[in-house]
Symmetry: D2
């Protein structure tokens, strides 16, 4: 019986010999179908061969995928001998013909293969799917990096910003697309059609980028609330029964959620452009709107705090941090007030000064501050969801996009590794117990 349990365990982790062999056979059959794409037949009957290759991929059992990816990496890499030769030739004479030849040899056959695969409907979607799985398994399969690199370069070319279309998403959008928003939303979960509907009403806006080759698939989408004054808490914005206000009277657009939909397109950056295009569009439609801001989570704050707690000796600070474990602390005014005095400066410090590789340690801060936005205001008890309380003690931050300061902020960011922030936030950050250490 112990053996049987062991067997069952093993079966889960390592497929038994016969299964592994079967997976290997599947993978080899699929690789044959893909290799065909680079043959003469692939050149002449591109669409038909691509169709077969696509089918071979889709019929691959889950267990055969790793073997298949590894075969891709080994089969369709540049020929090292030829490439070495081309390198030597270039070193000897850096002429244009030799450069061109070097470039050609250096390009993986995989790249050509992908362009042929793309001839059949569904080709692009399949390649995005491949990269999604490759990225997920990269840690365990360093040889897949080559696939990631080739697809990453191709996607950067194909999903070039000039080929994207910005579309408004509203209640007139096909259900097929709306359903995906519910599925993909990564920041503040959409609980169903009723929730979605509230987010698409007249005082809300939602925009997405689409690509002509994937007409039913949003690449990225952003949700905006048109309000008066900069919002300081997320739950009122998301409330299903929040009264719908007149968008013409709003003076502020709050970007409260931005979601990348395609893990396979990681590294192709859409977000920066999307925010700016949406800000411009809203500014034209609603001339009264002057402020474009986010209401953003601070996903890395408490984890950072945990890593740095040993550097803190100050007892009130330690008490406040410890109080985060008190259930329902936001409902206890006195306690919450004492925590606020300590945690807000700490968080301001984290946002502005905590760096990794010269960039803000917090990933959301890195994105917006890197885009040229300015950290504007920290909001206490702004996100009382379990995730909000856990990750950032319920705080949220506004990053403001002043369209005419973005460039300059970015310049300073790149040149001096310094982020844009208000005086108030800097003042807060200076009062934090860890400030001296930076």
């Amino acid at each position: 019986m112990v053996a049987s349990l062991f067997n069952r365990l093993v079966r889960k982790v390592v497929p038994p010999a016969s299964e592994a062999a079967r997976a290997g056979r599947h993978a080899r059959r699929a690789i044959d179908a893909w290799r065909e794409l680079l043959s003469n037949r692939g050149e002449v009957s591109g669409a038909a061969v691509a169709h077969e290759a696509l089918n071979a991929y889709h019929e691959l059992p889950l267990s055969a995928r790793p073997a298949f990816f590894s075969l891709i990496a080994s089969t369709f890499a540049p020929d090292p001998a030829a490439l070495r030769e081309a390198c030597e030739a270039y070193i000897a004479d850096a002429s244009l013909p030799r450069l061109t030849r070097l470039q050609e040899i250096a390009a993986s056959p995989l790249q050509k293969l992908c362009q042929r695969l793309n001839q059949t409907p569904g080709g692009t979607a399949a390649l995005i799917d491949v990269r999604k799985h490759v990225l997920a398994g990269l840690a365990d399969h360093p040889d897949w990096k080559m696939i990631d690199a080739v697809l990453g370069r191709l996607f950067n070319s194909w999903f070039n910003r000039g080929f994207l279309t910005l579309q408004r998403i509203d209640w007139h959008t096909p259900a097929f697309v709306l359903e995906k928003l519910i599925e993909y939303e990564a920041v503040h979960e959409i609980s169903g059609w009723r929730d979605l509907r509230r987010r698409l009403q007249n005082d809300r806006r939602c925009f997405a980028f689409f690509h002509p080759a994937l007409p039913d698939e949003p690449l990225i989408f952003i949700e905006v609330a048109l309000v008066k004054g900069i919002s300081s808490a997320i739950q009122p914005l998301l409330a299903l029964d929040a009264p719908v206000t007149a968008p013409e009277k709003a003076d502020t657009a709050v970007f409260y959620s931005i979601t990348n939909c395609q893990p396979g397109l990681r590294g192709v950056s859409f977000g920066n452009l999307l925010i700016k295009q949406v800000a411009q569009k809203l500014g034209e439609e609603f001339p009264r709107i002057r402020t474009f801001t986010t209401l953003s989570p601070i996903p890395g704050f408490t984890a950072w705090l945990a890593r740095n707690i040993n550097d803190i000796q100050d007892q009130p600070t330690l008490d406040a941090i410890k109080a985060l474990n008190t259930p329902d602390w936001p409902q206890q005014p006195a306690l919450a007030a004492s925590m606020k005095a300590v945690l807000v400066p700490l968080c301001a410090h984290y946002l502005i000064n905590a760096m990794r590789d010269g960039e803000p340690a917090d990933p959301v801060a890195r994105f917006h501050l890197g885009n040229g936005a300015r950290a504007e205001r920290l909001n206490w008890v702004a996100d009382t969801s379990p995730r909000g309380l856990k990750n950032c003690a319920g705080m949220m931050v506004n990053y403001v996009y002043h369209l005419d300061q973005i460039e300059n902020n970015h310049e300073v960011y790149v040149r001096e590794h310094r982020v844009a922030a208000t005086h108030e936030l800097r003042r807060l950050a200076r009062h934090c117990v860890l400030a001296a250490r930076t």
Copy 2:
């Protein structure tokens, strides 16, 4: 006065110092605008900077273009020192990280720049325009080859077949697009709207490929006549007053004209795919149509004959060739008959056996036979237009696309350098006076 004439001559060829200087200044100013695309500002404010760069290009005076292109080639090429280093590193260790680094360094900065330029509407069109001019001046400016190569690679990626849409062109198509057909048609000139209209009536079909980034610009288009039996002459197909027949009764689709619209996309091959997709579409719509054929010019025949005339001693052959200079020879039955006996075999020989670099010498033959079509029939007195008489003694040829033989034909073509042709054509070719020489 002599001096003045000399001056005028010079002015035509070489711009005078001041003008050249002005052109240079223009070119440098434009290159500055383009360089900006690779700066931090280009990264943050991509669309705005791309817009400026585009304007700088469009405002460039004609005379400043050559200087501008040369500046592109020298400014945005890969750094030779860095590339040499990357080559040496790869030679020492052909690992994936070093390959990746080599690929990155080998990629011209121009490529990144073009992707940024593409962020603004009109970017793609401008780059196609650049390549058009670069290709036209390549002979005089070998340094521009680098631009050609980078753009060629990018276009092959962007205009990937999977991103193209096949659209039927008919009388419901916007005038804006129809006008371009009149302008672009390269094989049998469209004399105006009335001519175009006849070509779009119910027994004719026209299809084009479009790309989402150039929605108003056909990339390539093909014109088809739906008829009974394989057409043997072009003028009856083009006649404005040809009676419109019922397409359901046709058994043959004659592809009588195929035109690439964008010189700047040279090398991105659309034609092969277009023919096959259109053949498939027509086959589905009209199940009676079993034969898909071209009615094609033989543009290189008489030039080839002129180059080979010294090898011909046979007097009747020489007489027939000489008779091509007789005005109105097609109207003289006896003369024409004697010419036919000589010229048809010669032309069959030219089509099937005359090779250049292992491929058919005639460019149209190279295209269709390379696609897997079969040379079917030579038609005497098939194109009596001045161009038809001049280039190929009024003959035209049918290349038939048997959808189930294409692959095999192509295979043989690539492996054995042998083209597909009917027995009759081979028989004719064997009887030609030059046949022995091959």
Copy 3:
């Protein structure tokens, strides 16, 4: 305090004097805005005046509507004196000019007014809304009949079948429209988006008629299941977790729900045409589908039975009818079997023989049999929903549309007041205890 209670009661039923007066003032103000449409100003500035009239209607408090409708009926009726004169003139001389004049005078000014109201966006929708309320209040306000008649005639002209477009509804349809299906569905309630989604999957079809002036509003929609064999029960068709089958393999299309969406369009018949167009469309897409049938409720059966129970002396029959009150009788096999033996013949008799004004007494039977369909089969325990058990003892009926018998069936229906039914149904009907009475 008694007085106060009385007051409160009164307030509910009859608006107190002041309120009634206020409603009257509102109604008169609105009628003034509508009268303006027939003035010179209405002629010149039609759209602007129509816009004002529309606003006046929409701003009308609920309590003022009855007064408003009555004012419409009295204000915009034909002038009786003028009409009498035109009648006399026609009686004296039935010439074309006098006929024309008679027609013009007989046409209510309301008709002209409505055509002007229609100049502003939303005009058609508002008039449909007016008729909806007028129809609902007709019993209490016989004077409103004139409004009903005028709008009915106009709608029959405007919603002429030639102006309708048939659209497939599926998961790519805008949410805005889908939401209305959930709201409107009248036969088998749609419980939410999940339920709707199952009804739109690949083995189901949904079609609706739309009118260009109401692009977001379905007028009528039909739901179809593509299955093997004629369905005999509704719950399996509606089950959320019913496996999705391949529509190409289906041989039967079951129309299981048809809903008129606009009460204000009552009397404009869309259903007949919709069924036939959908049957034709499905027949073209799926050549294997040969049977087009409904699975229909019999809404009037138990009510009819109750009205006729005094004519029944047969004790087993009376027992079976009484047993309908037994809770969960469908779960008691013996009881159900004895009930079936009695109730199925009774229901067959009801469907085929029970008439009102020469047409089937059951409204659904009247619709389908009047369209030329044939009563095919009675299904026992076919609809176990509370409504199904209550209205028709859980039975449902299939009406089959044989496209080539429809005309003949209708002919017989109209000429001989005889409905089309299978032999089996007729046989059943003959065995029922009430059969002799007809």
Copy 4:
């Protein structure tokens, strides 16, 4: 031979017995197909029967049409006996049921028939075609008036302004529609595609009304030039090589041509609404445009002058009128000047004071002044086309649409039969030799 000539003449006018008989048979067969629409079959199989009826109409030989129309008029008229009875019943009791019955009986069966005919694609177009021919033959066939009346009423209902869509026509419009503009243009002939193209460039606008049931058929279209200052001559506006100016700089929109496309829709007025909608649209797009004016022909001037010449004794006036026969008079400055002094006041008088049935005698004046426009300015030597010289001595007039005065002008027009005109035009009119007579 005389007999033969006579025969040929007769054949042209009266079809010989056998031909007339054949036409009669054709007409009766078609009327049978139409009668079917009112039968039971027409009710059940509406679309199929309508399709047959449509075919019967389209296959009708030209010679059989008159007989067919007369059969329509006699076959589908209301029943006089029944209508008389309904009249008497209404006279006796003017109740709502009797009014309703009267309305029903008074409505021609033709109306119902047309609504059924409309169920098949092409139905609306066929009915418009019927009315076109009916209108053209009305003078000779007074019995057809009944058809005209019924269709006129139906069209007024179907082509209700609320159902029309305003579309901009430009170079992106399908050729199919553009071709119709060339064909239909009634005011200033479009000489071909080049001419059309100039009229669609950036400083010109063209708009049309379409109806959803006739998506490829413009109902009416208007051509506008965006210029500086009110245009005083038509040829410069129409010149093919007129430089294209920037529309943003224009201050005036000149409506220089408005064409009703469907003679069968005569009496359904689109023009008034089209002008106002286009003026509003242009005003929104180009805020600098403050003046909306026509540049209109005066088609009835010289004919009116001819009718009134006997009332003129003044010799200079008679000389000026006589001089209109001088070829090339516009090229003779002295002569032209003397003519202008006489003809401009006469024309001003004609425009403002010449009335027929209380409305301006000139049809174009009647249209624009009836719409509430104001006669602004008479332009001398404004239209030098043969038609312009012949009809109105080369003069044209501007009617200005002041959007805020239209209503008031129309009011005065209807109430006091007085047209809106500038002081200058009134002053001119007073100085004309015929002025005293009015």
